[in-house]
Amino acid sequence: MENSALLKAIVDHAIDGIITISDKGIIETINPSACRLFGYPENEVIGHNISMLMPTPDREQHDEYLNHYHRTAKKNIIGKGREVTGLTKYGAAFPFRLAISEVQFSGRKIYTGFIHDLSREKRAEEQLREYALHLEEQVEERTRLLTETVLALENAKEKVSRSLEKEVELGQLKSRFVSMASHEFRTPLSAIQLSSILIEKYSGECISPNIERHTAKIKHLVTHLTGILNDFLSLERLEAGEFKPVFSNFDLVKFSEEVTEDMQLMAKQNQQIIYRHTGTSAFVHLDPSLLKNAIINLISNAIKYSGEDTFIEFNTEVTPSLVTITIKDDGIGIPIDDQRHLFEAFFRAHNTGNIAGTGLGLNIVRRYVELIGGQVRFSSEVNQGTSFTLSFPTRHE
């Protein structure tokens, strides 16, 4: 019987467990794989009810299952296979796939069960489930962190917009203050100015030189204060971007001569402003009002920061491509360390001592000059003097 030897060999070496039982449920054969799975040696199971390999409740009910089948011929498991749980000798349950077939053999009915261990698959499934759970936990954790971050960001954003709002409010407050100060200070300043003029008038021809000296001082100080107010107002309006340059054609020489004449009145004892123009043309296309302000600012600095008996050079040059304006003094100069801060608002060089000033002049000069498309440069040496140069591209219109 070569065939039966082959079959035996196949059964003995099958990976799946194979058990046959009688129609009473008594184990008749068991292959080595099944023995391994359930942990019993062959002799401990053969002749015993198959229910010994089952956990509760199948263990108690298996006989009934068989009876039920014999009574009704209703196949619940036979020919189909399903997942069930087995019980080893050591009391451990393990999952396996059970396929039962009914066999007619030598005139009687036996059942063959094929047992395919599912422990590994189950473990893998379990692991997968664990991974999934872990992953879900991680996702949850990340989501929580993200939500926290978003919340923190929102808070920060709110904080920023609140401080922005505050800054805008402060800016408006500053604007209102500057505007109010400009108006409210100007009115009493006008009254002071007028009264000092009237003091001179009422004193008549024979006014005491001392009274005249003091009224002159009052008038001078009123002008000074007005200048500061104007600087504040200019800065405010420059910052608000309210200045729009108005370009027009004008004669730079005539313009500069008028400025020189006005500024000469403010000069110190024997301080001479020397004006000179180079170039065949004198016409320029710039904003005369802003340019005048810038030049007046630079010349009054030259007057302020240089001594009596000095010359202040005021030069203009018009070439086909460039308008250059230079104001040069031989005054106290600007310390090298202060030079890079020179155009900052409210900055004053360290050697200005008690010479009055707000530190706004050059800031305003640069803004004016840039508004009309020009540049400011300077060179300076302490106790040697300072030279400021404004340059504009020549425009024709």
């Binding site: 400009s182 009493p188 006008s190 100015q193 008038k219």
Partner: protein, 130 residues
Amino acid sequence: MNEKILIIEDNDDIRESTAELLEFSGYVVSRASNGQKGVELAFQHRPDLILCDIMMPELDGYGVLHLLSKTPGTDTIPFIFLTAKAERLDLNKGMEMGADDYLTKPFDETELLKAIEGRLDKARKIKTFM
């Protein structure tokens, strides 16, 4: 004949001092402490020139200028704004409305007299021509 100047200004110190200063220079000065009174005086006295503040309660300088420029007889009177606002925008508005000049506070004697004489001179020339 001395020329008549009407000064409309709500600040007492400035109005009185400016008036006194102008009287020193030989002008006949009438004073109004607000825009409403200013317009009334302008209608009654027909001054040769008006100095007028911009910021005033009741009727401001722009309102005064508007009313006077709509009325035959006062529409040709030289009109100079006095302003504590150094802002070009405000000044432009005044000039657009037909003011002849403006003085920024604080002003000195030269500025004041120069502006007044310049405007009166021009008005005189126009009168002679007509």
